[in-house]
């Protein structure tokens, strides 16, 4: 478990460390969903690098022991069905015990099927009805500006979610009111619930739409941690709303889930989970080896 992070960091984080964390979060996601036997693997997995970089790359100020600390930054998972990745990150960061992940979606659990403000520490807004997180985040960003605070507000949305009109209300409003601490990220994994976004209701070019609403926009590979980190570094520097379009793969990291939208909202069986975990552990071993080699290389 990483220690409770109190401060943002200015320097570029250790990418290898982030990669390891990312793999751990993927493992947690699979284990949680295998246990709960319901939930959304595809959109949890596609957001892993983004969430990892945010929580462990020094972009969010938080104190896991004081989740309601006034000066914390706010991260809102507007695509609430992806919440397993956030619970995994919150466990990794020490907001909740790691064991608690196994209570996901069970009665009396703090780990609700979609994020609920006030139940699980570290959750900043109740979401799950798509399209609402950007508005809530905008309120927070403007409240911080009003109080002269430097609180960052970061909202993660899905590509399908961007079909909701409320997203464009909030986007227009943010482009106009121009809070200097407001970042939107789209987990552009090309699928929504019933199929490919481009076939149901194409949202491309997403960047163009945010630009038309007067945002700063960058488009990146949302699984390349270096790109994610550098895009976030760019975004936090902006004095106007910044949007990162992260091109991702739904189900990323588990071969049989990648780009297979069957896995939008179906949990893996025990056997499937075992296969997925084997794959993920192999990835972890490989990357540990590469890291070792790279460190040797660097040490020479």
């Amino acid at each position: 478990m990483a220690e409770a992070t109190l401060q943002r960091t200015e320097s570029t984080p250790d990418i290898d460390r982030l990669r390891d964390i990312a793999t751990r979060l993927r493992v947690d996601i699979i284990e949680m969903l295998a246990e709960s036997q319901s939930g959304h693997p595809g959109g949890s997995l596609s957001a892993v690098e983004i969430v990892t970089a945010l929580y462990f790359g020094g972009f969010l100020r938080y104190d896991a022991k004081r989740p309601e600390w006034e000066d914390r930054d706010r991260f809102i998972l507007s695509k609430g069905h992806g919440v397993p990745v956030q619970y995994a990150a919150l466990a990794e960061a020490g907001f909740i015990p790691h064991d608690e992940l196994m209570t996901l979606r069970k009665i009396n659990s703090r780990l609700q099927g979609h994020p609920v403000l006030g139940t699980c520490p570290g959750i900043e807004a109740s979401t799950g009805s798509l399209g609402q997180g950007l508005s809530i985040g905008l309120g927070m960003a403007l409240a911080a500006n009003m109080d002269g605070k430097d609180t960052r507000v970061i909202v993660l949305m899905g590509d399908g979610e961007c079909q909701e009109g409320q997203v464009w209300e909030a986007a227009m409003a943010a482009g106009f009111h121009r809070p200097d601490n407001f970042i939107a990220i789209v987990d552009y994994n090309k699928y929504q619930l019933d199929g490919p976004t481009a076939e149901i209701l194409d949202v491309s070019p997403l960047g163009g739409k945010f630009t038309a609403m007067d945002w700063q926009v960058r488009e990146i590979d949302g699984h390349d941690l270096k790109q994610v980190v550098s895009a976030l570094q760019w975004a936090v520097e902006q004095t106007a709303p910044a949007c990162i379009i992260a091109n991702t793969v739904k189900g990323k990291g588990v071969s049989f889930m990648e780009n297979n939208n069957k896995w939008h909202g179906v949990a893996p069986s025990e056997e499937e989970a075992a296969r997925a975990l084997t794959e993920l552990r192999a990835t972890a071993r490989e990357s540990a080896q590469t890291d070792g080699a790279a460190q040797k290389e660097a040490g020479r």
């Binding site: 006034e70 609920v116 403000l117 006030g118 900043e124 807004a125 109740s126 979401t127 799950g128 009805s129 609402q132 997180g133 950007l134 508005s135 809530i136 985040g137 905008l138 309120g139 927070m140 960003a141 403007l142 409240a143 911080a144 009003m146 109080d147 507000v153 009109g165 409320q166 209300e169 909030a170 227009m172 409003a173 009111h177």
Partner: protein, 325 residues
């Protein structure tokens, strides 16, 4: 509309009293933020906006976004008032009110102006005869429709003081004065017995409270002793007052500027059925959309006058008579 309320002084519209009070509250409390959705002149939040421009945002014609933003402001520690027409903020922001306000129990105070049909000429698209039904469907919300300027002033202050979400319905028209002095002891959940009586109880709120008083006086002339209860708050409901009405007067008439479904009458009927079942009649808009027109003419056409209350009272007494016979 003053012909509907003979003998009453006509005071300010409740939206005016709301606007004034909101501005005063702004002076008293730094932590208030106010949002409006391009109806600030109509909802009267503009007064606050002029006085405290830094704590006011007219967000434009985006009711859903406004509700979401309010959730963000409130969870950042601001007591957040938002306003629009009842029809728009409730009807276009319902799921947002659920997710961003009610479910997390945040400190958002929703002002739905131009409630009911008394806004008149603008017609149905601007009217709300369903806001009580919808707002009472949001657990944790206090839902209140004050009847005159003094009660609105008290309710607006109570909304600030209450820790949690509150809905206030504001009216467009000048309202007859029911409380002729500032109300000191206002509390949500406490109804007010305006007239004592033994044969029947009329429970009303908003513009219908004055009409109930008119009806009471006229029925007194016929020898019918009417209790009148002003019940602005539909949630939480003053169950005790409903029980007393049932037990002590044996018949209840509810009157509201709202559909008969889902509002004051529905809530009183459920409470009475649990606590003291008695014959009831309901005065309200009977499941139709109204239309454009002069407010007084609309009240007559859609059954919101003291005559309608009187007729309903006669019906309920007949019904009870038949039951007793």
């Amino acid at each position: 509309m003053k012909d509907l309320y003979p003998g009453f002084t006509i005071g300010k519209a409740t939206r005016d009293a709301f606007g004034e009070t909101l501005k005063q509250l702004g002076a008293e409390h730094e932590n208030i933020v106010v949002l409006d959705a391009d109806l600030a002149k109509s909802t009267k939040t503009a007064d606050f906006g002029e006085a405290y421009p830094d704590r006011f945002k007219n967000v434009g014609i985006q009711e859903a976004n406004m509700v979401g933003m309010a959730g963000g402001f409130a969870s950042s520690g601001k007591v957040t008032f938002i306003a629009s027409f009842a029809s728009f903020v409730v009807g276009k922001g319902f799921d947002q009110l659920k997710m961003a306000v009610a479910y997390p129990k945040l400190n958002v105070k929703v002002a739905g102006s131009h409630g009911g049909i008394s806004l008149g000429e603008d017609g149905v698209s601007q009217m709300s005869t369903e806001d009580f039904a919808l707002m009472c469907s949001l657990p944790g919300f206090v839902v209140c429709c004050p009847c005159d300027e003094n009660q609105m002033r008290a309710a607006t202050r109570a909304a600030y003081d209450h820790d949690g979400p509150v809905y206030l319905r504001l009216g467009r028209q000048k309202a007859p004065i029911v409380y002729d002095a500032p109300i000191k002891d206002f509390a949500f959940s406490k109804a007010t017995r305006l007239r004592e009586g033994t044969d029947v109880t009329i429970i009303a709120n908003g513009m219908m409270t004055a009409a109930a008083l008119v009806a009471c006086d006229r029925l007194a002339g016929e020898g019918i002793s009417v209790r009148v209860v002003d019940m602005p708050t539909m949630k939480p409901l003053d169950d005790d007052e409903v029980q007393a009405a049932g037990e002590e007067t044996g018949a209840i008439v509810c009157a509201e500027e709202h559909f008969i479904h889902g509002g004051l009458g529905a809530r009183v009927a459920q409470a009475a059925a649990r606590l003291a079942p008695v014959p009831m009649q309901f005065v309200g808009v009977d499941d139709v959309y109204a239309e454009s027109g002069d407010p007084e003419a609309l009240f007559r056409k859609y059954g919101l006058t003291s005559d309608d209350i009187i007729n309903a009272t006669r019906r309920v007494l007949e019904k009870r008579g038949a039951g007793r016979a």
